[in-house]
């Protein structure tokens, strides 16, 4: 017999151990970036300030990093600094890395969210169709479309897309987030250019932004579609072969109701995890896409920091994306638990 009290106690205990797991993962993440930034390079100071830095700058950074202390003390300092939101200073922009990251993150978030929406809206129905017509021609076509998305280098597709749709056909605008003369016209409220321009009634800018966003968003959408449709297919195949779908059909449910109302509804639970994971994958894909499309996001920031030998910025960006990744996993975990009655 479980009393309500013991059940809530167990729930509390489960929550605590789950939070601990997340905390340990985040700590491990910080340890990894610490390792990459401080232990791996032969001279971490040079990897931050570059080889041509004057002696005074070198000494200042040496002390700032606490390189005169033992490694464990350095790590402790690193963690406390991160918890206070101090990721160090970017030597390329001369601003705190956190300020830069917060500046650039909304653009990445906007682009990858739209990409994800495209991926889900197209990918899930494609996966369902693929499973429904298993081993028939729609299945083959959709599988090939997915496999191509898996195999194509996304940065190359971006270049080809620019060549065809921007240069040759002129259907979309070129690299960047807006045309040059629109940049800075809209006040920054949310950081999302679409929302900001719409809220402020600047429709000309809104449509310009869409024209700039179309190509990179479609490419990211295709990238996530490949994964989402493939996973949807495999989950749906399991569901369609199960007995409850057969029962529903025997009871006279329409094909649509059996497939969408019964099978897809049960498939939705694992699909939540798939979608969360592909959101994380988009953050990664955006690094390459943003460099191609000069998109003012995190990926482009990391890319340009690499060439300024600005290690603080690179690691800060990596850490941020990692944390977002962990939280996405967490979110999918929570959703899984609330959606699936068996896991409650």
């Amino acid at each position: 017999m479980t009393t309500p009290a013991s059940r809530s106690l167990r729930l509390l205990f489960g929550l605590a151990s789950w939070l601990l797991t997340v905390a340990i993962t985040l700590l491990g993440l910080a340890a990894l970036t610490f390792f990459i930034g401080r232990v791996l390079p032969i001279d971490p100071v040079i990897s931050i300030v570059g080889e041509k830095a004057p002696k005074a700058v070198y000494d200042r950074v040496f002390l700032e990093l606490g390189l005169d202390k033992p490694v464990w003390a350095q790590f402790f300092d690193y963690i406390t600094k991160i918890l206070r939101g101090d990721f160090g200073t970017s030597f390329a922009t001369n601003r705190p890395v956190l300020t830069d990251l917060l500046n650039f993150f909304p653009a990445t978030l906007e682009l990858s969210t739209i990409g994800l929406l495209l991926g889900v809206v197209l990918g899930v129905p494609m996966g369902v169709a693929s499973a429904y017509w298993h081993e028939k021609w729609p299945d083959h076509v959709i599988r090939v479309v997915g496999l191509v998305g898996y195999s194509v280098p996304i940065f190359w597709l971006g270049l080809v897309g620019l060549f065809v749709f921007y240069y040759r056909l002129g259907w979309v605008a070129g690299p960047g987030q807006l045309d040059v003369f629109y940049v800075g016209v809209v006040d920054r409220w949310t950081g999302s250019i679409l929302l900001d321009s719409a809220l402020q009634g600047e429709w000309e800018i809104f449509f310009n932004a869409i024209s700039h966003m179309a190509l990179p968003a479609v490419l990211l959408g295709y990238y996530s579609l490949a994964y989402i449709s493939r996973m949807t297919r495999s989950v749906m195949l399991d569901q369609l072969n199960s007995e409850y779908v057969l029962t529903a059909r025997l009871k006279g449910a329409s094909e649509f109701r059996a497939v969408v109302g019964h099978a897809l509804r049960n498939a939705a639970i694992p699909l939540v995890t798939v979608i969360a994971l592909s959101y994380g994958g988009l953050l990664e894909g955006s690094v390459l896409i943003e460099t191609i499309f000069s998109w003012p996001g995190i990926g482009n920031y990391i890319y340009s920091s690499l060439f300024a030998a600005d290690m603080n910025a690179v690691l800060g960006g990596t850490l941020l994306v990692g944390v977002v990744f962990v939280f996405l996993n967490m979110l999918s975990d929570v959703l899984y638990r609330t959606l699936d009655p068996r896991a409650r």
Partner: protein
């Protein structure tokens, strides 16, 4: 003709015959999957390109001919010439060696590392398992390309460092796989029997757990190769992989980027090479999974 059956050679012969029959049935089922065959053909073509590069290439991949800068595709340069007048076709042929080199380096390092970590974690359980799996989770928590990028940024660019960085991102799935397999095998009767017979943990891990992981590892490897090629090309494109003048495909796209509007062939042609090769590995991986994955086999 001998009267008594040879007690040592006969079982061996039977075993060999059985393995041969199994291989033949495997090959027959494989050939029934046309996409898998296409994948196999692509992979074999890649191997041939790498092996026969000096014969297949029409020009020296490194020798600049400045008068033929950015020449269009034609009879002399089949896929055109790059910004230093080097033949793109020959560079792509030689580039297949670099691609194979990176893939081989990553596979031979990441799969064994992941296998050992996973098998040890699964075999011992308890704290060792928890610690190892937390470490695996941390590595899985960062997107692969980004982690590889940070590693190469710290280590310095280059083809070996790029391979090393990709390895560091590629081992966790193998560890997961091996652990799952080890957890099943660990408590099975035959493992308990050899444990009672005095076999060491080392013996059990190496001779009983790892072989069980092999078929899933092979499937995973084939899929991974496509991913490795794409990550390596991405690193090359960013400028952290193979350095000039090496004809690495990703780096070739990167130099061609400047000319994408007027001399489109410089950037687009190497991309086709990357695409075709990784498609080949994906097709092959799909076919292998259909054949080798025990879970799928049960369902049919």
């Amino acid at each position: 003709m001998t009267l008594a059956a040879d007690p040592i050679a006969d079982p061996k012969r039977a075993l060999r015959a059985a393995r041969w029959a199994e291989f033949r049935s495997f090959a027959r089922r494989f050939l029934r999957n046309p996409l898998g065959v296409v994948g196999l053909v692509i992979v074999i073509a890649l191997l041939l390109c790498a092996a026969l590069a000096p014969i297949l290439a029409t020009h020296d991949p490194y020798l600049p001919t400045l008068t033929d800068r950015l020449a269009a595709p034609g009879a002399e340069y089949w896929f055109g010439a790059d910004e230093l007048g080097r033949d793109i076709y020959s560079r792509i042929i030689y580039g297949s060696r670099l691609t194979l080199l990176i893939v081989a380096l990553v596979i031979v390092t990441s799969a064994p590392v992941g296998l050992v970590i996973g098998a040890v974690a699964g075999n011992y359980g308890g704290w060792i398992d928890r610690i190892f799996m937390r470490i695996t989770d941390v590595f899985l928590a960062i997107p692969k390309l980004l982690l590889a990028l940070a590693f190469v940024a710290a280590l310095g660019p280059g083809i070996v460092n790029a391979a090393l960085a990709i390895t560091l991102t590629a081992w966790p799935p193998y560890a997961r796989l091996a652990r799952a397999e080890a957890l099943v095998v660990r408590n099975s009767d035959y493992v308990n029997a050899i444990r009672l017979a005095g076999a060491s943990d080392f013996h059990i891990i190496v001779f009983h757990i790892m072989p069980m992981c092999l078929s899933s590892v092979i499937v995973r490897m084939t899929f991974d190769m496509a991913g490795i090629i794409l990550t390596a090309a991405g690193l090359g494109f960013i400028g952290l992989g193979a350095q000039p003048p090496l004809p690495e495909w990703g780096a070739m796209i990167s130099t061609g980027r400047k000319f994408i509007f007027d001399q489109w062939w410089v950037a687009t042609v190497p991309g086709f090479a990357i695409f075709i090769v990784s498609l080949g590995f994906n097709l092959l991986g799909d076919a292998m999974r259909d054949l080798l994955d025990p879970h799928l086999r049960q369902r049919r």
